[in-house]
């Protein structure tokens, strides 16, 4: 009988707290962009440049955050700061896996690794920079007398041109992918999953509590 009372007691207590929980849950679900404290970092390679996008998972960019680039053995290759939009770009100094570490202050930190095979081959880097380095661009145009004979076009030049066009076309797509990668925050599934775990733990606790109780 006594135990029954206790049981009733705790369920009544829970009613109040359940109300409280649902109030907070409601707030969490209705307030847009609810998550704050996770730094998301995404990077993609275009030509010879690695573009980095950063932001908190609620969509606000990590402004002026320090970003460092390491090679796999932990040597710092370079460092810089993100701009107002949380973007940063750099030219990789060597073809290795690049580990990007962003420090947004107050203990917020994000990591992203760019695998080596996404990076351009270092010797061929010079070719893909047609846009960036005018001298090369000029070179590729010099045989602009091309028109005389199509045959004179070197397959390498075609490669450069095709590469450039494809990259231009793919740019929006790449950005979209990078953005959607950044958005993987939380979902209702995870929220309810977490609450489920906690209630499961409660169940285990109650089980042992009542097993102990029934023995004595």
């Amino acid at each position: 009988m006594h135990r029954l009372n206790l049981c009733k007691e705790s369920t009544r207590i829970s009613k109040v707290t359940v109300f409280f929980l649902f109030t907070v849950l409601y707030l969490a679900m209705t307030v847009p962009c609810a998550v704050a404290h996770k730094v998301l970092l995404a990077a993609y390679v275009e030509g010879d440049t690695v573009f980095v996008e950063s932001g908190f998972s609620d969509g606000t960019p990590c402004k002026n955050a320090r970003i460092e680039v390491f090679d796999p053995s932990g040597n710092k290759l370079l460092e810089g700061k993100t701009n107002e939009n949380g973007d940063f770009s750099f030219k990789p100094p060597q073809k290795t896996d690049l580990k990007l570490v962003l420090n947004a202050g107050m203990g917020h930190r994000g990591e992203y690794t760019v695998p080596a095979d996404e990076l351009p081959d270092m010797p061929s880097v010079q070719k893909t920079t047609a846009e960036a380095t005018p001298t090369l661009a000029a070179e590729s145009r010099k045989p602009g007398k091309i028109s005389e004979t199509v045959a004179r076009i070197d397959p390498k030049e075609i490669e450069v041109i095709v590469d450039r066009v494809i990259q231009k076309r793919l740019h929006p797509l790449i950005q979209l992918v990078a953005k959607s990668q950044r958005k993987t925050g939380f979902s209702p599934t995870e929220i309810f999953g977490g609450i489920g775990y906690i209630l499961g733990l409660m169940g285990i606790g109650m089980y042992f509590r009542y097993r102990k109780g029934s023995k004595s």
Binding site: L6, C7, E9, S10, T11, R12, I13, S14, V16, T17, V18, F20, L21, V24, L25, L27, A28, V31, C33, A34, V35, A36, H37, K38, V39, F56, D58, T60, V101, N103, G105, M106, G107, H108, R109, G110, E111, G185, F186, E190, I191, G193, G194, I195, Y197, I198, L199, L201, M202, G205, M206, R209, K212
Partner: protein
């Protein structure tokens, strides 16, 4: 308050983990097992509260609710918050597994301090004292947490005053909001279920 993986140095992490283990042991020992449901529900409240983002202020901050949780749970806040933080780091990648101990300490120790400071005052009959201390409880818990975060970061090389100031300023809106929330909770509970405020420490007969 979630400090990410790889930010803190080993001594800080180990100290945090050690305090958490001891705190959880004490918490589980002291916990009245008939109140497991309440502990679980407050644990899930904390789990969800971190998703409520406060848009004011220079940085993005979220609710903590450690004042209320400390007030209602006392030492049982240790296991409750450890569970919630563990799930947050697994499911949302908030904070990191290695930083779990430090994060738990940063949230629970202020909650406990506030519990001892305001537990009796909030149970007083006088509405003014009870309300005022409840507000102070919510406010202080977040303030102390911000200061402790600054403290844990100081060993990582960031200048203490700079970081602490930044964290405290960023959390100022949260302190105010939580002050009001705690006051509201205390008033509500006193009306609906006055025992709940007392049982965390020792059951008291009349209010």
């Amino acid at each position: 308050m979630h400090i990410s993986e790889g930010v803190l140095s080993a001594p800080v992490l180990i100290t945090g983990a050690a305090i958490t283990v001891v705190g959880c042991a004490v918490g589980l020992k002291k916990m009245d097992y008939d109140r497991i449901p309440q502990v679980a529900i407050l644990s899930s409240t904390f789990f969800v509260a971190s998703l409520v983002h406060v848009p004011i202020g220079p940085s993005s901050v979220h609710l903590l609710l450690n004042g209320v949780i400390g007030l209602l749970l006392g030492w049982a806040a240790f296991p409750a918050i450890l569970v919630a933080l563990t799930l947050q780091s697994i499911l949302f990648q908030f904070g990191g597994i290695t930083a779990l101990g430090v994060n738990t300490v940063n949230v629970v120790v202020p909650a406990l301090v506030c519990f001892y400071m305001f537990n009796y005052a909030t149970r007083r009959e006088n509405t003014f004292i009870s309300l005022g201390s409840a507000f102070a409880c919510g406010f202080m818990a977040v303030l102390l947490t911000s200061i402790m975060v600054g403290f844990s970061l100081v060993f990582t090389g960031e200048a203490f005053m700079g970081v602490s100031k930044l964290v405290v300023i960023a959390h100022f809106p949260v302190m105010i909001i939580e002050g009001f929330m705690t006051a509201f909770c205390v008033v509500f509970l006193k009306k609906v279920k006055p025992e709940i405020l007392g049982v965390a420490h020792a059951p008291i007969k009349s209010m």
